[in-house]
Amino acid sequence: MRGGHDLGGRQGFGAVDPEPEEPVFHDEWEKRVFAMTLATGMLGQWNIDQSRHARERQHPVAYLEQSYYENWLAGTEKLLLEAGLVGEEELRFGTAEAKCGENLRVPDAAAAREILASGGPAARETENPPRFSVGDEVIVERRHTSGHTRAPDYVQGCRGLVREHHGAHVFPDANSRGVPVAHHLYSVEFSSRELWGNDAEPFDVLIDLWEPYLTFVKSSGADGNGE
């Protein structure tokens, strides 16, 4: 979806504010929100794409006004509500009407450390051969979806060159709906002029894009990248 989070190329936000000697967390509550988000994720009731989508599905003004961990808090509350793990009233008053963790595997400290240390790879085996080869020119299809997608608005409709094939990875658009299919993933390179017009300073942007986002234009045997 093209919400407040899809920020590539947007204007008017001002200068970056590098903060020297920045602490890992700025406030106690940030630590707790960070940890609650990870710990509730470990219950296995939603995946990483559903959790990203929960943060994106806010009013764009709210998304942009809130701090990073405020957005995490909003997303985690939403996921807990939608999974039926907590109720509206419970959230409002902070007191439980009923326990509900009995059928879930709730990690203790050792289990949490183990889950963090082992990670969760997104690469998958697939029997489908990749449709694109390194050097191919592709175009990113325009898509207007209210669902989760990892094709940023600023590359949609643009032509780029396939630079690397990462194998098949879990496809976020489907995974955010609870459908864990995998598609081939490519690193695609775009010239700044393709993205921003002829007045852009020269540089390249490389983005990871899944096969369903892309349409074939021409193979590497042709005359380069069409710039």
Binding site: V24, F34, T40, R52, L64, E102, V106, E201
Partner: protein
């Protein structure tokens, strides 16, 4: 996104507290697990991991090859593996090319080697402009690149995570891995700065 940390609404703080006591009461989280998660990223996993890999790559040609060929494996070899570092790619700065990493859609970042991302990395100014005017963004970090140096911006849209291997500063010949690590800052491994010059290390 507010960067004013000293005046956060206490409403958020209360909401976070209420949520935690609710989750504990319902048996959905264990406070000891929350503490373990915080401790992991506050005290254990951080940019010292990435700095170690970079310093190794600077001093060991064979490790450098392995890091550039498959960074997940090279990092795992050193014990750096886990959440948000499952698929790692190292991209090397050269006199011709400078690399810069961003996540325009959220805050994807190689936790296993850099820890948690700084506030500016997750902020709207950085996420919006790194892909449209990288030289101006670099200038805000005091980084000026010669005009002939090409810039490659990596937008982390998938579960691939990017680590920049900065150029080894001149005047560090013969330095140990341990000493070199001190020159490799988190910002250099995101690509907004160069590695520190040797004179910046206190003797």
């Amino acid at each position: 996104m507010s960067s004013d940390h000293s005046h956060l609404p206490s409403e958020t703080e209360l909401r976070a507290k209420a949520l935690e006591s609710l989750l504990v009461e319902k048996g959905l989280v264990k406070p000891e697990a929350l503490d373990a998660i915080i401790e992991t990223y506050q005290d254990k996993v951080g940019p010292q991991n990435g700095a170690h890999l970079v310093a190794l790559a600077w001093t060991d040609a064979d490790f450098r090859r392995r890091l550039l060929a498959d960074a997940s494996e090279a990092a795992a070899e050193m014990g750096y593996f886990g959440r948000q570092g499952e698929h790692l790619k190292a991209v090397e700065n050269t006199p011709e090319v400078h690399n810069l990493v961003v996540c325009t859609l959220c805050s994807c970042y190689p936790w296993t080697v850099l820890g948690l991302p700084p506030v500016w990395y997750k902020s709207a100014p950085y996420r919006s402009r790194a892909v449209s005017e990288p030289r101006a963004v670099l200038a805000e970090f005091g980084t000026e690149l010669p005009g002939e140096v090409g810039i490659r911006v990596w937008d982390s849209t998938s579960e691939m995570r990017y680590l920049v291997v900065p150029m080894r500063p001149v005047g560090t010949e013969g330095w140990s891995v341990e000493r070199l690590q001190g020159l490799v800052t988190r910002n250099a491994m995101i690509g907004v700065e160069q590695a520190l010059p040797p004179e910046r290390l206190a003797p």
